[in-house]
């Protein structure tokens, strides 16, 4: 059955082609059926594979399709690798992806580019599946670039809006910066190991031992790629701007696909990273810094999608922290639960925006609890999950990461906990401002308030169930659980050197958990008292608040450091290098030939004697050269 894993890929690809080629011919219903159906098919195949993997005796399997590149000694086969890590990601991508497709079918109903939208969406899912299925870094990179392209297409979906196009370009360019690092890392890998297959590279890397310089270089370069794709400091600014796309796209980018690619890549390369502890420290620090910075920005945002975007960046930071302290399983666990509750949050936000006719500013919302009951309750579940309130899913995954961080270095835990508390604060600030208090919009929009149709609320309810229950697959042993997910993934992460971890007693874990949960609950109640009766602030904040409202002026800083000097540098180069040097060389060549021809023409005097003299002299010179020099 594992041999048929290509079906998982083929279906979304077919969906992309059908909805793309016949986007103007097919009816909207047919397009929606194709788009959702193919992803549902992928999901079912993934489920079958997953249940096979649950059976004892399942081993990581390689499926060979054909030889992709064969140059000299370098062989790059088009192989798929199916193991536990891949299967978890397959389920997340196709499962959450399907719900988002289903939601989109209703959300985008009135849009003119319905077929185009679904073909992009299917291509997105296809690329992401290719990324997690590839058995070597090149296949992974194809998927990697594919999601980059699709994010560009989808963020700029409404291409008639200039600022949306700018956001799309920003996302693409930011990703390209990261991809460059990934690509250089790939080349370094090829030159060093003359292979890109996971198994081969890991085996050769293990032979090099820890603290090898080349491994640190490779892992750091791959990390640059992951930082770009997973929106970490310093390449995170594209993700909040990615809100320009339709809301379900934001859900897809933020939850199931794209941003988890970096996490997947590092988890997949865990052998390399464990061999380079220096890089792991960098990963942890980047993750922690991003988690804190993004959470602090989210505290003072007023755009419902912006808050969620920064919360994604912050949660990705937590995942990086988990990876950085060697808790790969915990990071993947958090990817999973995050996919559930973040998709739910975005789809819930989409439902709110839909009800308000495109309004995204939470200062003009409020009191939506009675009008949108389904959205209200599911959004509440998602907020509880992301804030780490037990027994919702986010609690278990976030706690697994924080516990691992504590074992590595207690300071990481304290800072991480601060980030988690900020998460609880900004999420419930958003929640109370949006759904409680009085409605602050116009009379006109108040009359149009309505709950979304069932095609949109059913995915919400399903995702709410997942957000509630999803964490139960990873209940740690200190709480009497079995940590099913951790055990399922254990064969993947067993390879490579074990990271020495001081074993904390179950009691420590329990205490940390209780402290985190109690503080989160306290923050939720504090937030409730602050924002339950929210009145729109009119005066812009001062001091720190102003910095937060302006996102620490990071965009302005990048603008000052890169965006504006770059055209100036280009102009300078154009004036002082392009025209005098390059154009000068090209035109000079032409002018030299003309000038030379004019001069040499004078030799042709018509005097036959001169010609003969030239001939004889030439013959003599050739003779001398042949005689003396050769």
């Amino acid at each position: 059955m594992v041999q048929y894993v290509w079906l998982v890929l083929l279906l979304p690809l077919l969906g992309f082609l059908v909805t793309g080629i016949w986007r103007n011919r097919l009816s909207k219903t047919a397009i929606a059926m194709t788009g959702c159906g193919t992803v549902l098919g992928s999901f079912l195949v993934s489920c079958v594979l997953f249940f096979q993997a649950l059976a004892p005796g399942f081993r990581s399997t390689q499926v060979h399709l054909f030889n992709f590149i064969s140059v000299g000694t370098l062989q790059i086969p088009f192989d798929f690798q199916v193991d536990q890590l891949t299967l978890v990601f397959l389920l997340i991508i196709t499962g959450v992806g399907f719900l988002i497709h289903l939601y989109s079918a209703s959300y985008m109903r009135t849009d003119a580019g319905y077929g185009r939208y679904f073909s992009y969406l299917n291509l997105f899912v296809f690329s992401m599946l290719l990324l997690v299925l590839g058995a070597n870094y090149v296949i992974l990179f194809i998927g990697w670039e594919g999601v980059g392209l699709c994010s560009y297409l989808l963020i700029g979906f409404w291409y008639d809006r200039n600022d949306f196009n700018q956001a799309a370009k920003k996302a693409f360019i930011m990703n390209r910066i990261g991809d460059l690092g990934f690509l250089i890392g790939l080349f370094l890998m090829i030159s060093r190991f003359s292979s890109v297959s996971f198994g081969e590279v890991f085996a050769q890397a293990s032979a090099l031992g820890t603290h090898s310089g080349v491994l640190v270089a490779i892992t750091l370069l791959l990390l640059v790629g992951a930082v770009g794709k997973s929106a970490q400091i310093p390449l995170y600014t594209w993700l909040p701007d990615a809100m320009a796309g339709p809301t379900p796209v934001s859900a897809l980018i933020h939850a199931a696909t794209m941003v988890t690619a970096g996490i997947y890549m590092i988890a997949r390369s865990h052998v390399l990273y464990s061999l380079a502890p220096a890089t792991l420290n960098v990963v942890a620090l980047i993750g922690l810094a991003t988690a804190i910075l993004a959470a602090s920005i989210a505290l003072k945002q007023y755009d419902i999608k912006k808050v969620l975007a920064y919360s994604t960046v912050s949660q990705l930071g937590f995942m990086f922290l988990g990876l950085g302290v060697g808790a790969y399983g915990a990071a993947v666990f958090h990817v999973m639960t995050h996919a559930f509750f973040k998709a739910l949050l975005f789809l819930g936000a989409g439902s709110v925006i839909h009800a308000l006719g495109g309004e995204q500013d939470i200062r003009r919302m409020g009191g939506l609890r009675r009008k949108l009951p389904v959205t209200y309750w599911t959004f509440l579940v998602a907020c509880l999950a992301i804030s780490g309130i037990p027994p919702f899913s986010g609690f278990f995954s976030k706690d697994a990461i924080l516990a691992a961080a504590y074992r590595e270095q207690p300071l990481l835990y304290y800072v991480g906990l601060a980030g988690a508390l900020m998460t609880a604060f900004y999420m419930f600030r958003l929640f109370f401002i949006t759904f409680h208090g009085d409605f602050r919009g116009t009379e006109e929009s108040a009359r149009h308030l309505h709950e979304s149709p069932p095609a949109m609320t059913i995915p919400l309810v399903l995702l709410a169930l997942l957000s509630f229950l999803g964490g139960w697959v990873g209940i740690p042993s200190s709480l009497g659980g079995k940590d099913l997910l951790g055990n399922f993934l254990a064969p993947v992460f067993r390879g490579g050197p074990a990271i020495p971890m001081p074993v904390a007693g179950g009691n420590t874990d329990l205490v940390l958990m209780i402290v985190a949960a109690a503080l989160s609950i306290a923050v939720v109640f504090w937030t409730r008292s602050l924002y339950r009766q929210y009145k729109a602030e009119t005066t812009p904040g001062r001091g720190l608040v102003r910095w937060l409202e302006h996102k620490w002026y990071v965009d302005e800083l990048y603008d000052f450091l890169f965006t504006r000097p770059l055209p100036r540098l280009s102009n300078w180069l154009e004036r002082h290098v392009e025209s005098p040097v390059i154009d000068g060389a090209v035109n000079g060549m032409g002018r030299m030939v003309q000038w030379g021809s004019r001069k040499i023409r004078l030799i042709q005097s018509g005097q036959v004697g001169l010609y003969i003299f030239g001939m004889v002299a030439g013959a003599i010179i050739l003779f001398l050269i042949a005689f003396f020099l050769i």
Binding site: Q604, S605, G606, Q607, V608, G609, I612, F613, V616
Partner: protein, 101 residues
Amino acid sequence: MDMPVNDYIFLSLALFCIGVMGVLIRRNAIIIFMCIEIMLNAVNLMLVAFSKFHHNASAQIFVFFIMVVAAAEVSVGLAIIVMVYRHSHTVDVGLMNRLKH
């Protein structure tokens, strides 16, 4: 009875150089033509000398070919010179620069 082959080479070289100098220096087309013939015959002499030296007759076949081609060439060349003379009443190559343009 046998002369060393070097003597033939020097003689041939001398004849060839005379021919070259004649072509370079003289302006009369007919003299230039004769000088070319001298060069050709210098080469012929060399070929015959080496033919004898190596006891190989094939070089003499070349000589016959060269003589035949030279005869044909002389007839054409002289005809051209006659035509030039009829046209411009001179055989001075210094004045024959009409093809320059």
